[in-house]
Symmetry: C2
């Protein structure tokens, strides 16, 4: 992890800014770019990131799909300046996802669906 002299102003050894996480690229195990993190879903009571929602596909913001991933699927790769997920691209694209304006109700059933797929 970077030492204090090279720390990005939005990072520290221990913490990272949500503004920096949003928009960060996400790569699959084979190095292919999956998409980028669009936003995070946070548990209201415990303030814990339940899912990182990765946006994928589309053109100029149109036609994008959104793929929720459990937070612990992501590992930051300094060389790529992005997150790596230890999954193949096909496996990721087969995961739960939704189109813009078709957001699911984020209830326990949906959360279990996401967690179950990546278990």
């Amino acid at each position: 992890m970077a030492d204090n002299n090279t720390l990005d102003r939005n990072e520290t050894q221990d913490m990272i800014s949500s503004a920096k996480v949003e928009g960060t690229a996400v790569y699959g195990r084979d190095g292919e770019k999956i998409g980028s993190i669009h936003h995070l879903m946070l548990g209201k009571r415990d303030g814990k990131v339940r899912h990182a929602v990765v946006s994928y596909g589309g053109f100029l913001g149109m036609g994008e799909d959104y793929f929720p991933l459990p937070w612990n699927e992501l590992s930051y790769d300094e060389e790529r300046s992005g997150y790596v997920v230890q999954r193949d691209a096909d496996q990721l694209r087969g995961g739960p996802h939704y189109a813009r304006d078709h957001e699911p109700v984020w209830d326990r059933a949906y959360e279990a669906q996401v967690t179950g797929y990546y278990a």
Copy 2:
């Protein structure tokens, strides 16, 4: 909490989108607007929100100060469409803060300073 028929697309009974949290107004105990949430600081390993960084003051983005608050200081108030902190404005303004481009190193010492102030 809102039922499924009135759920905002970025919310659910259990979770909230980081994109929605960012920019939300923050009010003190007396109803005075403190500022708005600029971004969140997340623990990298556990993905837990350590601080909500509230921006306050300034004009057109200039001269703003940033005040980290522990996540558990915030309660969402449906009527105000914003977060309420059970502190007086003076107490909040006396808390740890920094100016734009003078971000602290987010190490354990700084985190302890923030947590200690709001203990």
